[in-house]
């Protein structure tokens, strides 16, 4: 099982404007611990550093300072241990229309990670595993032959989830997995994620800007504001008893039928 821990992680970007350059602190001393079987929601507005944290976790960026610990050891970016890290931590991207290669079939998208992380499997075993993955995300076996453009947004996101599950990871980073989907299918995809999490005992980092789903699906909520964690606690506490001004603003922005009815009565 994999335990991920961030300790005072800082990520700065250098912005160049002609001769001048200044630093943008995208992630400011963020610390948290992600354990198997738990879901942490990372909530914040756009530009607050949510996706940068996801990229740091996926080794697409490296922290400026601070440490990312994997099972209490510092993260390694090269070699066999990096490969085993990639196997243990996987990601579902935000936009299912961009995260699947239009040139390749669904089968290719699922077979590649299986083959990469289980090099010993024969062709037949890989095919079997691909079908099993499709089944896990409730897609029919004939999707293997299809190309992304033949799929709906929800189906694509299911394929993306299946791809993330292919190496059988212990931790899943879901970067706004439903924000690009129709409202009507969001719940289906989120429920699927929740079910898979229970089945596999996954640790999930659920990145979102939607407090309602964050509360529904996660054990803890972290509120990110300008790269800083301004609030961190059990989901219900953060929603019902917000301490930081920004959290209150977020909570008020969510539609609340009772409050609205009360306003209408007045």
């Amino acid at each position: 099982m994999t335990v991920l821990e961030l300790r005072d992680v800082v990520k700065e970007y250098k912005l160049r404007d002609g001769w001048q350059s200044r630093k943008l602190r995208a992630v400011d001393e963020v610390s948290f611990r992600l354990e198997p079987g738990r879901t942490i929601a990372l909530v914040g507005q756009s530009g607050s550093g949510k996706s940068t944290i996801a990229k740091l976790l996926m080794q697409l960026e490296r922290p400026t300072s601070g440490q990312i610990l994997v099972n209490d050891e510092p993260m390694v970016y090269r070699g066999a241990r990096a490969a085993s890290y990639r196997k243990a931590v996987q990601m579902v991207f935000q936009d299912p229309f961009a995260s699947l290669n239009p040139y390749h079939t669904v089968g290719h998208h699922l077979a590649r990670p299986v083959r990469l992380h289980h090099p010993g499997l024969s062709r037949g075993q890989v095919d079997e595993r691909v079908l099993e993955l499709l089944h896990r995300v409730r897609l029919d076996p004939d999707f293997v032959q299809r190309k992304p453009h033949e799929l709906s947004g929800g189906q694509r996101q299911r394929v993306a989830i299946a791809r993330a599950l292919a190496p059988s990871p212990g931790i899943l980073v879901a970067d706004e997995p439903v924000s690009m989907l129709d409202v009507s299918i969001r719940l289906g995809v989120l429920n699927l994620l929740a079910t898979l999490q229970r089945e596999e005992n996954l640790g999930v980092l659920y990145i979102t800007h939607d407090l309602a789903t964050a509360r529904h699906f996660s054990d803890e909520i972290m509120v990110l504001y300008r790269g800083e964690v301004v609030e961190h606690g059990p989901a219900d506490d953060v929603i019902l008893n917000p301490q930081h001004e920004y959290t209150r603003l977020l909570a008020e922005a969510a539609p609340d039928p009772e409050r609205r009815l009360a306003e209408l009565k007045r």
């Binding site: 990601m91 961009a98 995260s99 076996p141």
Partner: protein
Amino acid sequence: MAITTSTSQLPTDAVRRRRILPPMTLKLGIGLALTGLITLFGLIGPLLVGDPSAVRDLGLTPPGNGFILGTTQTGQDVFAQLAHATRGSLTIGVVVGAITLVLSAFFGVVGAFVGGWVDEAFSLFTNVMLVIPGLPLVIVISSYVPNKSVWLVAVVLAITSWAGSARVLRGFTLSVRSRDYVLASRVSGERRWRILLVEILPNLIPLLASQVVFAVIFAILGEAGLSFLGLGASGSFTWGTMLFYAQNGLSLRLGAWWWFVPPGLAIALFGAALSLINFSIDEIINPKLRSQTRADRKRWGMTREQLKHAREETA
């Protein structure tokens, strides 16, 4: 979710093939047919005709009389010359196309994919090559080398013409390499060369194809221009050298149209055919260029006014 149906192999395969190849339109059909005919002529023609340089005692015979396309001033068979010239010009086109493909893919795609100072260096080199004026350089090189083979001319043309497509490819690669599906394959631990070859390159195929076709047209026209100026390959036949000798032999003033029309027409037809193919490839890259709406109107049996009206209604 879809209802499970029996997995049939055939229709999905057909769908896949249709997506890689451009749709068969009249444009593409004409282009392919013309290219095919001219290529076939260049391949088989020289085997069937006699010596193109053989001098005979019957100068400027009009077509017919035993010579399909007549003879030149010195009694050489124009048809035999045309066959050899087609082969020569096509050789140059193919060689330049291949070299351009390799150079532009290397400097455009690899540079953009690797990034960092490699990209900067490759990009700088490409830009320098881009601003080197092609034709004058070719003239300078040509005047230094006394005995030029077809290959030398092809290499010189290729070196001066790859930079433009390298820039186009670089731009597109930059956009593809930061797309989510490339990041996703990095996350799943794919090796870098595999990401480049399997995830990025297939999406560049239409662009590469159209760049190659363009390079072939450019090479054939460029060689014809050089040869017409008398700077082409010595001792070999191309459409350009034919025009050069026709010009030297005062064919226009003597009214010997059968001497200069065939090579001229061949250049024009081959260029047009490749352009038609290129347009069809462009339509895959940019579907907006398709003449779809016209076809739709025909299919629905609507007049132009009706269609306009319908569009206003639905807008």
